[in-house]
Amino acid sequence: MNYQAPTTLKDAVTLMQGDTGNCRILAGGTDLLVRLRSEMEEPDTVIDIKRIAELDEIAEEGGGWRIGAAVSGVRMAEHAALVAAWPGVVEAMNLIGSTQIQSRATMAGNLCNASPAADSVPAMVAAEAVARVVGPDGARDVPVAEIPTGPGRTSLARDELIASIFLPAPQTRAADAYLRFIPRTEMDIAVAGCGVWLALDAAGTCTAARVAVGAVGPTVRLVEDAGAALVGSKLEPDALDALAEACSAAATPIDDKRGTAAYRVHVAGVLARRAAVIAAKRAGDTT
């Protein structure tokens, strides 16, 4: 196995371009190293991107935040302004694994691993996050929702990598939240997950909402009906019921060792309802 640790993005792309075998990007390594250790994968080349300085930054950009592909969840949680702007995305990132894992795991890695149960992805989709994809032809910006195409599969070309993820500037009286269900209290994989972003007017009426569900289909899904169910409401029980029903209706899970399909459909709705209430509370607290 050939291990490379370039110090510039350009070198990383060149290495990827020149590689003809199975080439994998190593950021936090919390998925890749597990796969290597369990012998699920034997890459010919591993490119470690942690020594590329520009990928290791959280930078403000037009009021939003650009998060480098090598930034760990813990560093996001320690960034007060980022937490204030996107509490749901940060909490989703820091539900993953243990404290040790959170100190290594990256949001771009969570996205590229393309697990349907990835915790940060529903939160990013609800936040309308945009991935900056870099390849031999330069950079392109791609909505996060368009990166995963199925379990373990992404829309990236074999010589492309994600350099950063951009979270837009937060709006007044708007906030996000993410909840997942696991049988334990931590160190587990979502049975279902739900990210909610919503905006309120001065009277507390929801003016816009985006809801994304995870672990209940082959990819994370933005549920437009669920967002629409909240708009115009003050999150009254009827609106929350409609939200839950829309999320359950959008869920197309399978029965597996982590839960029955029927259970996941039900819990997706429960989580949506609870996450929406948290997001609304946060939005109301912002001025």
Binding site: R184, I189, G259
Partner: protein, 750 residues
């Protein structure tokens, strides 16, 4: 020497026993200096790896390892054909077949071949070059399905004489216990509960995977280092499988990262020895976690029918249970112990249990902490709880009303001496936990549990060093702090400080036969032998003092760490301390030691009562453990920290078993969750602080009153939690684990 009359008095004022000194292995374990199974190395060492069956049941029609053998760096390939020595004992023959499949692979993960190579990468590559032709056969993994007459049969002719004719060949043994007349008892009941309860197979979940290093010399002398609960068992089993003399195989136990019964047999060791013998080099083998889950020894899954009758005053008139346990691919599920333990806490006129041992296409079950008892207690204690609550009676009072006590004829035969069940129930009733308020969606459950405890073959040698310190040499791997406990009992007996004693675990060349660290036996049996070895040393030291003083041996006593003259004609010699006697031992006859070899009897039975509060999320079915208290009789707590740790550890494992742990097999017979991600043992944040309450009802069979404490603590939790969750959910739950989908389904079915 005239023994101090206080020595056998269990109201003796202890000086060391009952205190909480630091454990001698603590610093090594927190700094990484301790050497576990995988930490052993040897010059020229090879890596051994095992090829495992992907099929749950298949005939092995051929194995071609020629390509693997030709791969540079491969030093040996082993299949069952290499184990040519005829193993006479049927149980050991099953162990061999489990370590390396014969004609058939009997479960997903069953070993079919092994390689030894100069690197892990070459070993991995070599496994892929071994061609195994399988003829897949129909399989069965569920215990009730395996008992059906038309179920796929694993073996023919393995049923013993207790099994009636006409059943599936998968039913290999039947046992029955009890007394009285069940039907007559049920006729006196005001209400009868009749239900079926089921539990899934769970794994001990020890953190350290199995690992060993084997080295077989061309002269036939062999050494084996391994992680085990009993290296004498490893020696005896491997010697029989390989056709060696036991004396030619020296086994050394490493530090052990948990066992809980799962390391009371062998999996890798005979294979590593055979690879080493064939390769002429040392061979190290380490299981991955996936291998541990697929191919070590989880416990049985169970299906239990219970019928219990009770009067409206809460007196149990009859108790019946029929238990069906599958113990994997070979005979030996712990159903007999479950059938004995099921009603052991109660004084019943009419009681009967019947147990069925069933084989299925799963890994061969190994012991797991109080093997067989937790599932039986789950069924019986659930039914008692349902009856008590149905009459509006206090479930603790109902248990007190029926509690076994001194003189009770146990459901499994013997009559109890002094036991502590009532004390645990009364203490539970008076504890603030029992009267604490509960909130919405919360419920409280209680349950009792019993375990036999064990003694067995034990050897201890205690050596007095020239500078007056003491070494205790014993043969049981220290799995729960036993080195500290032995040092404490030796210090107590000799009247010297704890830090003047060091206890070491000897290899098999050092002492005679020692039973495995199991049956909660070590603090009891090795402790007893340590005390007796110390007494032997004291007798010798008194004899030396008598010789120096020129008086009769009988005129010398040992008190407060010194020999003292005693009696009318002993004179007024100043006492001689242990150190003073040791310093001149060479001039008074030579080195001083004491030793004791015994098949220890008198291990006192042990009882516990557990109390737990749970909260159920009505929308998701998730269960939270809010509060947990353990009340258990320890006889005498030698090192209370370790006793409390055993109470808490048993409860924690029981919480996992009750809530989320389970072996999940697909329709294809393949284990779906061979890893700690989807085999869900509790994490720290899942557990409340578990409060341990130690009761001390002395065991008459031990000089200090010690009872084993390691296993009883896992017997009540399954039932206690199910009772609490059933109360919180408002519906009786009878199938463990109480995973969220199952609880939500029950809530919806209300």
């Amino acid at each position: 020497m005239a023994l101090d009359s206080k020595q056998d008095d269990r109201t003796h004022q202890f000086k060391v026993v009952g205190t909480r000194p630091p454990r001698p292995d603590g610093i090594d374990k927190v700094t990484g200096r301790a050497r576990f199974g995988a930490d052993m190395t040897a010059p020229g060492m090879l890596t051994g790896r095992i090829l495992r069956s992907p099929h749950p049941h298949a005939r092995i029609t051929s194995i071609d390892s020629s390509e693997a053998e030709a791969l540079p760096g491969v030093h040996a390939v082993v299949t069952r054909a290499d184990f040519a020595h005829a193993v006479a004992d049927a149980a050991t023959a099953d162990v061999l077949d489990n370590c390396m499949a014969g004609d058939k692979a009997l479960y997903d993960g069953h070993a079919v071949a092994a390689v030894a190579a100069s690197s892990p990468a070459i070993a991995r590559k070599a496994l892929k070059l071994i061609k195994v032709d399988y003829e897949p056969l129909p399989h069965v993994t569920d215990v009730d399905a395996a008992m059906q007459p038309d179920a796929p049969a694993l073996h023919e002719g393995r049923a013993n004489e207790t099994v009636p004719a006409g059943l599936s060949p998968n039913v290999v043994a039947r046992c029955a216990f009890g007394h009285g007349d069940i039907e007559a008892g049920l006729a006196q009941a005001d209400r009868i509960v009749e239900r079926t309860y089921r539990t899934e197979a769970t794994h001990q979940g020890y953190i350290e995977p199995h690992a060993c290093l084997a080295s077989v010399g061309p002269d036939g002398q062999a050494d084996l280092w391994c992680c085990t609960q009993g290296h004498y068992m490893v020696r005896n089993t491997c010697a029989e499988i390989l056709g060696m003399d036991q004396g030619q195989l020296r086994v050394t136990a490493s530090e052990i990262g948990g066992g809980f019964g799962g390391k009371t047999t062998v999996f890798l060791e005979p294979v590593a020895l055979m690879l080493s013998k064939k390769a002429g080099r040392p061979v190290k083998m380490v299981m991955s976690r996936s291998e541990v889950l697929r191919a070590s020894g989880p416990t049985a899954s169970s299906s239990v029918d219970v019928r219990i009758g009770m009067t409206k005053e809460g007196r149990i008139t009859a108790g019946f249970a029929e238990l069906r346990y599958q113990g994997g691919a070979y005979p030996g599920s712990p159903v007999d112990m479950g059938a004995m333990a099921a009603f052991a806490p109660y004084d019943l006129e009419n009681v009967k249990t019947v147990g069925w041992d069933v084989v299925t296409n799963r890994p061969k079950a190994a012991a797991y902490r109080a093997p067989g008892a937790p599932m039986a207690a789950f069924a019986v204690e659930s039914a008692i709880d349902e009856l008590a609550k149905g009459f509006g009676l206090d479930p603790l009072e109902v248990r007190l009303k029926n509690a076994a006590r001194e003189g009770t004829r146990a459901s499994y035969g013997p009559t109890y001496p002094a036991i502590g069940l009532e004390a645990t129930l009364r203490t539970a009733r008076d504890h603030p936990h029992w009267s604490a308020p509960l909130g919405p969606n919360q419920g409280r459950g209680v349950a009792c549990g019993f375990w036999f405890n064990f003694g067995g073959d034990t050897c201890v040698t205690l050596n007095i060093t020239p500078d007056g310190t003491v070494t205790v040499t014993e043969g049981n791997p220290d799995i729960g702090g036993s080195r500290a406990s032995m040092s404490m009992m030796a210090a107590e007996e000799l009247g010297i400080p704890y830090d003047k004693v060091r206890t070491v675990i000897a290899d098999t060349g050092t002492l005679g036969q020692n039973e495995v660290t199991d049956g909660s036996r070590v603090t009891f049996a090795v402790g007893l032998a340590t005390i007796e070895a110390a007494r032997a040393a004291k007798r010798e030291m008194c004899r030396r003092a008598a010789q120096i003083w020129g008086i009769e041996e009988e005129a010398v006593v040992w008190e407060d760490g010194a020999a003292r003259p005693a009696g009318p004609n002993a004179g007024t010699h100043p006492p001689m301390s242990l150190a003073e006697i040791a310093a001149i031992a060479s001039n008074t006859g030579g080195p001083i030691a004491g030793h004791h070899e015994v098949n220890a009897e008198g291990a006192g039975v042990s009882f516990a009562t557990h109390m737990v509060d749970t909260e159920v999320d009505p929308e998701t079915g998730a269960v939270k453990i809010l509060r947990y208290t353990v009340f258990q009789d320890a006889g005498k707590a030698v090192h209370p920290d370790y006793v409390e740790g055993q109470f808490q550890g048993g409860a924690a494992q029981g919480i996992g078993w009750a809530l989320n742990e389970e072996y999940i097999y697909g329709a294809d017979g393949v284990l779906q969750n061979p890893g700690f991600l989807d085999y869900r043992i509790p994490v720290a944040s899942d557990l409340p602080m578990i409060e341990p309450v130690i009761l001390e009802i002395p065991n008459p069979g031990h000089p200090y009153g010690v009872r084993g404490v390691g296993e009883t603590s896992i017997v009540p939790p399954l039932a206690a939690i199910a009772n609490a969750v059933s109360e919180a959910a408002g519906v009786r739950l009878t199938h463990l684990p109480l995973s969220p989908p199952k609880v939500l389904d029950a809530l919806k079915s209300k």
